[in-house]
């Protein structure tokens, strides 16, 4: 193990803001993409179900 303390781990030998800046943005980008993808799919899926419902009423085109 090369880190003697948590503080040392986060300091990254003085390069902390570069290393963690990279990892934080990567994590954020991936989380945002996942969230958008999941939400988009859920909305579309719900809409697909709704189109069946309106169809049975005979009001949808």
């Amino acid at each position: 193990m090369q880190w003697e303390s948590v503080g040392q781990f986060f300091a990254m030998g003085g390069y902390g803001r570069f290393v963690w800046g990279s990892y934080a943005v990567t994590a954020a980008v991936i989380l945002i993409e996942v969230a958008t993808l999941v939400r988009r799919h859920r909305t579309l899926r719900r809409r697909a179900g709704r189109s069946t419902a309106t169809d049975s009423n005979g009001s949808s085109p």
Binding site: G21, T26, L37
Partner: protein, 244 residues
Amino acid sequence: MAVNWFKYASPQTFYPLAGRLVPLFWLLAIVLGAIGLYIGFFVAPTDFQQGESYRIIFIHVPAAWMSMVIYVVMAAWAGLGLVLNTRLSSMMATALAPTGALMTFLALWTGALWGKPTWGTWWAWDARMTSELILLFLYIGFMALQAAIDDPRRADKAGAILALVGVVNVPIIYFSVKWWNTLHQGASVSLTRAPSMANAMLLGMLIMALAFWAYSIGAALLRVRSVILERERHAGWVRELPPG
């Protein structure tokens, strides 16, 4: 074999299959990512030249690789869709583009953050970084063209032609940028030379690359599910989907 293959070429059969594959690939990405990061942060030694700042390569290099791989795969799907007129292949191309663009952005972002401590500048007009930037432009062009065309079939075909033209151009662009870069020695810094890598570093990087790979496949599959729902919303099978 061929029959088996084509069975999944219809959006209707592919939609549930993709739904089963997404969690699988993402689970794989999480497991591989955890292993890769553990190796990257706790096993790989400090680099004697760059200190701890080199630990950015565990995401920088995989993102850069994925940005290029995804473009080629995207062009291949788009070309397949154009030639065989299979809707699903074109949808895969559409679904891959945003993830590829994100990977390109990440490669540029992490490259800049690595460049600052290593060469003392956020941005160098070095052949690799410049090519990566141009690749981002190509992704943006592909997405902008598809977004500007309302008819999905036309968008597919136009996008395919652009992607194929782009794929022919990528090696030419890379070569020209490299050529340009070597001619302007004054502006270049010797940054492409990788430090002699310890095995643990290489292993961590490869595992992270696999994690990025698995993540990208999962993301593209989930996006293609949305694309299928959007395009086939008037088809009977979509209307009969159970809610969820």
